[in-house]
Symmetry: C2
Subunit: 257 residues, 2 copies
Amino acid sequence: MATGRTHRPATRSRGIPEATVARLPLYLRALTALSERSVPTVSSEELAAAAGVNSAKLRKDFSYLGSYGTRGVGYDVEYLVYQISRELGLTQDWPVVIVGIGNLGAALANYGGFASRGFRVAALIDADPAMAGKPVAGIAVQHTDELEHIIESNGVSIGVIATPAGAAQQVCERLVAAGVTSILNFAPTVLTVPDGVDVRKVDLSIELQILAFHEQRKAGEEDGPDSGGPAVAARAAAAVADDRKGPDGDMPAVMPA
Amino acid sequence: MATGRTHRPATRSRGIPEATVARLPLYLRALTALSERSVPTVSSEELAAAAGVNSAKLRKDFSYLGSYGTRGVGYDVEYLVYQISRELGLTQDWPVVIVGIGNLGAALANYGGFASRGFRVAALIDADPAMAGKPVAGIAVQHTDELEHIIESNGVSIGVIATPAGAAQQVCERLVAAGVTSILNFAPTVLTVPDGVDVRKVDLSIELQILAFHEQRKAGEEDGPDSGGPAVAARAAAAVADDRKGPDGDMPAVMPA
DNA sequence: CTATGTGAACCCATTCACAGCT
DNA sequence: AGCTGTGAATGGGTTCACATAG
């Protein structure tokens, strides 16, 4: 085979940093929009703005993929769309199953962003017998009993879990046993999986909690780094009563042993 | 203290690393589960396993909050729940509005994880007049015309956008103008906001794309780092015809200028 | 002269390993 | 003796700034 690169610092051509991989879909989305407007080329500056990152980062990211730009000009939109799609594995069709067809599962089934990016919803699966046969997003829901059969006969390797937290681990194990090796988990629980299986999680309330943290801080920092908001007096008292080094606050009822 | 830097040193006692903040909700979830089982104390090892991180990271994270453990023993569960809740700003009640009551918006409105963590859905807002008055998750949907009034009269500072991409920026601007300073964006588009406004985004299809990348790589690495899958022959030809340095692959139809 | 591609510096995050407290 | 808390070491990711190509 014609690979000239036999021994290399090894962390090269194939080793794209995880942080870069996570941004490729962002670039792809921005490029797709440009493509639909028939824009032929973009500069790193313009594309970075459209994707919400800075241009140095974008150029560095692209440098891991190869030299796909033209100096003095920019990047060819169509060409980049293809290269990034290929890098992400979106030039092939990925059948996915969604397990747990509640509100969220139904929303996912109806979500247009999947189909338009190389993902095909192969089946919707739910444990409730009353759901079986009901059409959601034009697909008849199937019962959990069918899970293994569906995975195997469709060659599904990506599963989406949108069940309640209590059911998630068990569903996960059945998916993995049937051959799934990538899981997107919406249930608010930690999944344990064997080596070789990838799990990504999306927890809706975690994102809100992170926002609340920053929101609280905005309100508290208005007059100096040590103004603790409504509980300043209580804090001062607690600092005397309790020798723990926490920067702020006491506790209403329960104290540690 | 100052190093002639234009921005602030940022590493102060109040400056909890962003990566740590992002994990606090995870710890909180694990601790809440322990609390419900009336477990009085946990070691960093046990709690780390329950949260899906390693124990050194967890101890380091907690060290930014203060010394809340007891050497030789572990952490008091109730005490930690309170300290983390307070740090995240969850001891107060955050009214949030959800804009865009489609499948996803409805799923969010019904999501139990919000209410149980100090968030209160103050209003559901949709642009479709036919939706107005309809109850979703026990709350009557209100029309977009009411947006400013709802934000102001409820003192809402956190907004959730679950509209189609095309409407998101406009909704965002109205939310910000009315006083919202934190936004959780589910629309697949980049939002532009003034300084001082926080945006976090959740893009369902991005997570799947990242999984696809790793999934593809699993399949491709089975027989050597340069086995390119189905397109190997095409690649070799392209390598001759095209002097770009991309590590692999050609393009079906379009070529750059 | 313009905009990419990239070494090098910088900064943040993770991991290690052990001192210090209970 | 056991487990936390944390300096020190390590590793990744981001940013800078400029050589390089068109």
